[in-house]
Symmetry: C2
Subunit: 386 residues, 2 copies
């Protein structure tokens, strides 16, 4: 397989875009990525689009064709990939494999979701389609409930506290303040989180990522193409790994670890020939605060059970032991589900290139993206480097 | 890119499976493909799942994970691909690219759709999400309407007759009688078609493919793996090509040709170093009878405008000039949209291996699969050989 690099990135601001359709979000992010790469649309050979549920959120399937059409890229091949909230990660992975294979020299990977055109209750129900609908949401277990079960068990087994959960949100909001594309650019305190309405105990409103509209896109190119185009700051894909788990939470042996994260991470470290301690900056899937704690443990940054303590000690803040979710994460940057996995790559690319502005970390040589679908039935891990 | 072969195929009967869930359909087809390949589930390295709209038809997204879970393939990587009715074709293409790249040595590509659990009117609306929902279905133009416009224009420009359209359905029903997995194993006459209720003039009920439930799966392996497993009858993928067109019909220059079919076909013939006249057996996308006429012209089997005449002359019957839709096609074998593109590969594989039973064609060395999404916004063409 050939080496592949990210040569351009772009995204919309994440948030409530009542004035923009899914089509406009796609074009805005896609055009920015193409401009950032310094190429023309005609140079793109194929499109890998990520979207979870436009069929429900926006009354439109065939999202690959929608992207090609509205980006003016007809008749290029285009496809949509879906793995719930990991749609962006799997699309990035398949785009990478296609370029690595030699099928294409240059592709764009884009992710989009428009979630705020439906009622909040309906959105919660649609997001439930990421889990085992028949056994979970249909019985009333929406996603906050499922992650609340994981949080309760983690608290029971390891003494993780509600304050520690809250500190994940506080840190991610802190980072988002410095990200012009983030949905919530506002500091919050542990007290704010603890005082916010209970959604599914122990998770409160401010432990949860929001409903968001947004899109993100990246341009991938083969090593030959990177040289040909004289790209100054290619960001290389050093590892791409993916794993699955049971769709339903009740079929798992352990609620305090995501098997798919552990399997994918192990493979990714092996591919890149690096260890967890070598990672400088990581975008991890914090759909709920407990999810970030599970992630930093399952990815090997901290020992199982010590994630809460690590957050409390500030080890995951910018420029601490490992900078986690410098974008603001799903919690504060926002979580338009199909776009999230691609946004993680956008953020890592900016950090590794030294283009992350006010939130730039001082040492950014190796970055890791961790994107989860549902309650962990899909996990994708990518490792990038300068 | 490495050579890749189809080494196992399986499908459910297509039809109305009110007694089976989407999960059971997946397992039935998948298990048959794995058994046919003579391998074990543990030998599979990844899953490429095709599905158009389970989010709407079956209240479930995250279909890749659903497949891995219910096939007992956790923690293998799994992803769902969607390009409306071409979902199966694009999943097969991405599975092929992944094996050709060296990312995996053996994968399964499966497609599924469960369409009969919703009301017929709702199903028509869901299928409309394959087109440009905002400009087409929302205004009342469901898919029969769009293809009726193409049929009218083809009749106007080339003198194609309603009888010729009907003959496509008659031929495909004739083939389906010999296919134990087909939905409609029943002969019909031109008079039956002409006398059936008008859906969108000139298309009548019997010009239209049905709503169907079903699944299909194929196992793909690298050349090394084919040798290692001593596969007797590998069917090689000689070409894989894909193209796109505008989502909405009104944005096209010509209603009597599908640009995406022409672009993809041209690339596929070039890759395989063959010409249209070399193809012995073809599965083409006959969602409506007019679609098969467009396909056999756009694929270069017959000149533009002469497709209707070719059908009338019997040139597309089994063992005539080219055997088209020996499975019965979408029209008579059935059209569970996510499964259709994969079923086309199942049929070609059986024909090329000489395993097609009563419907076996006498000469089957080169086969072509043609899978269309929406009214032509996606087209995938594959060429297979022994």
């Amino acid at each position: 397989m050939r080496r592949v690099a990210v040569i351009g990135v772009g995204m919309t601001k994440f948030g409530e875009h009542w004035e923009k359709s899914i089509r406009e979000l796609i074009v805005e992010a896609g055009a920015r990525a193409i401009e950032d790469a310094g190429i023309h649309g005609r140079d793109i050979e194929a499109i890998y689009g990520a979207n979870m549920s436009a069929g429900r959120f926006a009354n439109q399937e065939h999202i690959g064709a929608l992207i090609a059409d509205h980006m003016g890229l007809v008749p290029k091949p285009t496809v949509r990939l879906e793995a719930a909230c990991a749609s962006g990660g799997v699309a990035f992975r398949e785009g990478y494999i296609a370029v690595a294979s030699g099928a294409y020299d240059m592709v764009v990977v884009g992710g989009v979701e428009k979630m705020t055109d439906v009622l909040t209750e309906e959105a919660a129900s649609i997001l439930g389609l990421a889990g085992d609908y028949e056994w979970e949401v249909f019985k009333g277990a929406t996603f906050p409930t499922l992650y609340a079960l994981m949080a309760r068990r983690h608290m029971h087994e390891y003494g993780t506290t509600e304050e520690q959960l809250a500190m994940v949100a506080v840190k991610n909001h802190e980072n988002a303040v410095l990200n012009p594309f983030a949905q919530f650019r506002k500091r919050i305190s542990v007290e704010d989180v603890l005082a916010s309405p209970v959604i599914a105990s122990p998770l409160k409103l401010l432990d949860c990522s929001p409903l968001s509209d947004g899109a993100a896109a990246v341009v991938l190119a083969s090593e030959e193409k990177v040289r040909e185009l004289k790209i100054d700051t290619p960001v290389w894909i050093r590892a791409s790994a993916q794993a699955s788990d049971t769709l339903a939470l009740h079929d798992r042996k352990d609620l305090t670890t995501l098997l798919a994260t552990r399997v994918a991470a192990e493979q990714a470290y092996k591919q890149a020939k690096v260890e967890p301690k070598d990672i400088d900056v990581a975008e991890v899937h914090d759909c709920f605060t407990i999810a970030e704690i599970l992630a930093i443990e399952d990815l090997g940054f901290f020992k199982k059970g010590e994630g809460g303590k690590a957050v409390e000690e500030g080890q995951t803040a910018r420029n601490a032991k490992i900078s986690v979710n410098t974008s603001g994460g799903l919690k504060a940057c926002g979580h338009p589900v199909g776009a999230t996995g691609v946004k993680q790559i956008v953020e890592l690319t900016l950090q590794l290139r030294g283009d992350a502005g006010e939130r730039q970390v001082t040492r950014a040589e190796l970055g890791l993206a961790h994107n989860v679908g549902g309650s962990g039935a899909t996990c994708v891990v990518h490792i990038l480097s300068r």
